[in-house]
Amino acid sequence: MCAFPLHVWTIILAFRDFSWVTERTSAWDAIGVISYGMVFALIESLAVFLVAVLLGFMVSRKFDEGRRIALLSVLVLITALWAMASQVYFLWGISLPEQMMRFLAQSGHPVRVLYAASLALVLPTVLIPAFLVLKSNKVFNFVRELTERLSLLTMFYLVLDVGGLVIVLIRNL
């Protein structure tokens, strides 16, 4: 689950860059950019996995192993979704509604208000699913099945990582 969202995001953005790089240099260089991107995504996935493992030690042992893994998977997925949302804001050129901008400007502390509002929005989206995974069998089973299905897709991404690594090695020989 650590690798899945990171790879999806990298693939989406790297392929968006493909034509941009090809126009300026060559298709082989564009493949190079994607390959490095995949390798960096693999490294980031390992780092996130490590953090998730460390966090796992902080979850009470009264929950069985399956639930603890499901909890961490949900946390990683939701955090990744929010990280994507923060970038989509720039990617699609979205701006806050006029009224909200005016409210922020009039508040006197726009940054603080923005952070507080973000926290109020993000916190329930993390805490509620986490609570449900631990307490509801239905949600737990859903997360477990989702994780299993995504794991299959993640294997495909890992194959792409290996391909990326090979291309990076060839380019650096």
Partner: protein, 511 residues
Amino acid sequence: MEKMNRLLDRREFLKLSGLLSLSYAIPRFGMVPRASQPTPGGQNVLLVVFDALSAHQTSLYGYHRQTMPNLDQLAERAIVYHNHFAGGNFTTPGTASLLTGTLPWTHRAINYNGTVDEPYVKKNIFRAFQNHYRIAYSHNPLVNTLLFQFTGDLDEFIPRERFFLASDGFIQTLFNADEDIATVSWARTIKRKEEGYAYSLFLTHLYEQYREGKVANFKPLFPRGLPNAGGDNYFLLEQAIDGIGNRLVVVPQPFFGYFHFLPPHYPYKTHRDFYGKFERDGWKPVDKPDDLFSQKKSTKTLLKWRIWYDEYLIYVDREFRRLFDYLEGSGLLENTWVVFTSDHGEMFERGISGHITPVLHQPVIRVPLLIFEPGRETREDVYTPTSAIDLLPTLLQVTGQEIPDWVEGVVLPPIAPTSLDPERSLYTVQAKHNEKYAPLTRATTTIVKGRHKLLYFFGYDDLVGRERIELYDLEEDPEELNDLYLARKEIGAELLEELKAKLTEVNKPYL
């Protein structure tokens, strides 16, 4: 008072630098060491280029604002060229002309981040100085693209990241054989700042914190933000100047040094000492009508950018003075020719800001040139028009070396044994969107001959009849306000014919 300010800044700078973990970020001018012993008979050459420095906005050349007071003083010991023209209007063609002694239509580094044509990889200034220790550095990635081509003729090529405050140099080190693409991918992966998004979802946040932490202490010194070479490639000019100075006193002599600093190129981020210096001086430049190729910048915007640029120039001026004084203190100047120049200029008029424009008016192509001869104590002014391509043969001449036959420029006065023809034709070329290996069909070229300058635009979609011609008398009208092409038909026709004949000649290999 000014001296006191400088001392305080120095102390503050040292104090702040001490907080950096990068040891090379700490400026080390202070005690000036004696330079290494020169080889008898061999003189050093130091070519210092400040990117996008327009003669038009330099006080030495009559600009209203005192943008370069130190240069004004140093000029009393230099040969000062008043009508010196760049080879092109942006870094790639302008720098390639300096480094090859040929015009852009010959070396073909005409496109953005372009490279010189294969034969010129071996026809460059570094090869010409093969008896010298050749060392080069630039903040500017476009210059580095050219320097990479010439690495075979360089004894020392200082990596660009060496003088950045926070460096991603490990990527270049790790992927040394593929550093261009590795760097692009790394930037797209980790640097959210440039576009607001990156391939990485989490590491980019940690990376930003790390980078910001590295430069945070310097931010108070630059109220408009830290000077940068794109994105978060922050640098301090002080650091590069100190690093270069310290290196030059220890490298073997004779040396040929090419140092191309990014300031005063955009973004114009001056030091706190000069911030606001011209903000309220009330001066306004000559009002000029918008050009056909106007970027639609308002007068207010142009005035703002001009002020920011002018205030950046004083920072450049102070740092060049520091380098000069340091080299003098080390004894190097006794045996070193120092050249101060630029690769192209900058403009803030006619609705245009910067230099990426087909419009080759004086602010974009007229650049400063000062040559400091070892031991010279008097000033000599040269008003004859000169070109960037003349620098290479001139520097070879002063160091007693043979001038290769591929060089298109000539030895400059007063160094040349015979006087320069004041009616010699000088050219500048802008062909950024023309194919590299194709005849020039979409370009702007200028020909300067004596007091007249003709601009010839051709192939642009915006042009009715696909061409535009303007003629100016630079002596009577240095601001280029009155187009004389219709009023002085004969001169205009003669210059145009000569320019077109030249274009036919240079296009021949690509037909």
